[in-house]
């Protein structure tokens, strides 16, 4: 009897929307490819300190700008540092920048957006006008301006990109909160006398989360490009610490003598960003109930 009931329960559980979303996600080949790509780079970034690779900052004046070989699979740079090793450590900077800046944007943006969407009134007016104003400044220009005023460093680049991405999350969370606040179950919760904070935490927040998750995956992709762009301009990671953008900045001075210096960082940025974009697209399709 209990066994049969468990089975029935399992069957019901198996049909829950989450599992349907998961099934849809799994059948999405490009999304799986994206996850593998993201997973691979994350693994490399995390494992960097224990991998058997040379010190990314160790210079070797006897091995300047060597083409790829057995000793240096991706070649060496203008002061004889191993490019493979710098690429691996650079993955840490890129992924860290992508994830931390989006975390900053979410932590500031989602509560503000929910507040604006649920409370409405003057709070909404103030938050919305500020969001519109910030959205009128192109993302990268805002990030450059902020990074310029904060001073060039990887941390400041992350803060700048985070702040520049915040309006996106405010707008998304606000729109979502407005929709959910109009749902019957929120009104019933209100009617039975649940406090605002309980409604926000129990009903609004969990339902705002899925689209925020999709957006955050896609924003990590643009944040990684933004970090690479800032570092390329000299406003991000400072030498000698490795970062893909900074490596490209140096590489553009050696296009004739050492073309491989410019090749790898770009390929890596492309693959990671493509991975996050594919993952984000897949998540959106999987979580969208309208999508067949």
């Amino acid at each position: 009897m209990t066994h049969a009931m468990n089975e029935a329960e399992d069957a019901i559980l198996a049909k829950r929307p989450e599992s349907r979303a998961w099934r849809k996600f799994r059948s999405h080949k490009s999304a799986l490819f994206g996850s593998v790509m993201v997973g691979l780079f994350t693994l490399i970034a995390v494992a960097a300190p224990i991998l058997p690779i040379p010190d990314p900052s160790a210079t070797d004046w006897g091995a300047i700008r060597l083409a790829p070989s057995m000793a240096h699979p991706l070649g060496t740079d203008e002061i004889g540092r191993d490019i493979l090793s710098r690429m691996i450590w650079g993955a840490r900077a890129s992924l860290l920048a992508g994830v931390v800046s989006v975390a900053i944007a979410m932590v500031i943006g989602v509560p503000l957006g929910i507040m604006a969407g649920y409370m409405r009134g003057w709070i909404d007016a103030v938050i919305s006008r500020c969001t519109e104003a910030l959205l009128a400044i192109p993302f990268l220009i805002l990030a450059i301006a902020l990074a310029a005023f904060l001073g060039p460093s990887l941390t400041n680049a992350m803060i700048a990109i985070g702040i520049a991405s915040t309006p996106l999350f405010i707008r998304l969370a606000r729109g979502q909160a407005i929709n959910i606040a109009a749902e019957d179950y929120v009104e019933s919760a209100h009617a039975i006398g649940l406090s605002t904070s309980k409604i926000l935490l129990r009903y609004i927040f969990p339902n705002v989360l899925p689209p925020v998750l999709v957006q955050s995956t896609l924003t990590v992709a643009s944040a990684i490009i933004a970090e690479a762009s800032l570092s390329f301009l000299g406003l991000g990671q400072q030498p000698p610490d490795p970062s893909w953008g900074a490596m490209l900045n140096t590489a553009k001075n050696f296009m004739v003598q050492a073309p491989w210096m410019a090749l790898w960082p770009g390929v890596a940025i492309y693959l990671v960003v493509l991975g996050f974009n594919l993952l984000g697209d897949g998540l959106r399709d999987a979580l969208d109930p309208r999508e067949e």
């Binding site: 910030l134 400044i137 220009i141 450059i144 301006a145 410019a262 492309y270 960003v273 974009n277």
Partner: protein, 314 residues
Amino acid sequence: MLTHILHRVLVAIPTLILISIFIFALQKLLPGDPVLALAGEDRDPETLDRLRELYGFNKPIWMQYLIWGKGVLQGDLGISIRSGIPVTEMIAQKLPVTLQLAAMSMLFAIAIGIPAGIISAVHKGTKTDYVANVVALSGLSIPNFWLGIMLIMVVSVKFKLLPASGYVPPSEDFWLSIKTMIMPAFVLGTGLAAALMRHTRSSMLTVMRQDYVRTARAKGLRERVVIMRHAFRNALTPIVTLIALLFGELIAGAVLTEQVFTIPGFGKMIVDAVFNRDYAVVQGVVLVTAIGFILMNLMADIAYVLLNPRLSGR
């Protein structure tokens, strides 16, 4: 129609005021006393007081903002501490270069992105659609400055087909000007083309599900006519809006593209200003970009109404 436009213009004003406050605040958040920087070696308290008086730093902050804002309204964005040239003049000098780059990139993006989107939508679910999607997503994922470096390496360094860098005004030598701009425009246009393709595709797919498209088909019209005249014309409205909204991306992309191809434009100016700690220039550039973006938005709004017969009749 006119009231609609007027309403949009009025709504844009508080946004602009907020942006100006934000840009002004950036300068105030700057660490260090600006007077000390202006005075240089001379740290005599009397000189410092005089400088404070001269630049209005002794006034309350809201009054400083009003003085600054008044200047901005009269077209005075301050003076570059590096070159001594008024910021407005610098922008007027550099903007045409970037506008040429932006226009060529946009042309390229439209020429590639829209047809690709239509083809992809018409052949939904086929290999063509799949390939077009992968190419578009790649276009969005490739950092454009890297694409620029790669192109310079192959096209300019190896095959010596196009100049690697620099800028020639079209008034000086039209064809050389176009030739130097081809690669930068391609690089800047790639991401835009990808965005346009994806947008055109989804807009077309929505329209092609509509009844009037089915009716057009049922009437026995040729598929080509159905797609171009009935579907595409209706799908165009959101695409035009997107083109205006991509303006921000164009300017931001121009910063990197101009850096790679050493083009002396608006984008390179902001990077140089950042490195020279020329804050008046940074503020001016951000403000002008934001105003441009808001104007483009306004134009998109108007175009949206004009293109949509259901709205323009009002």
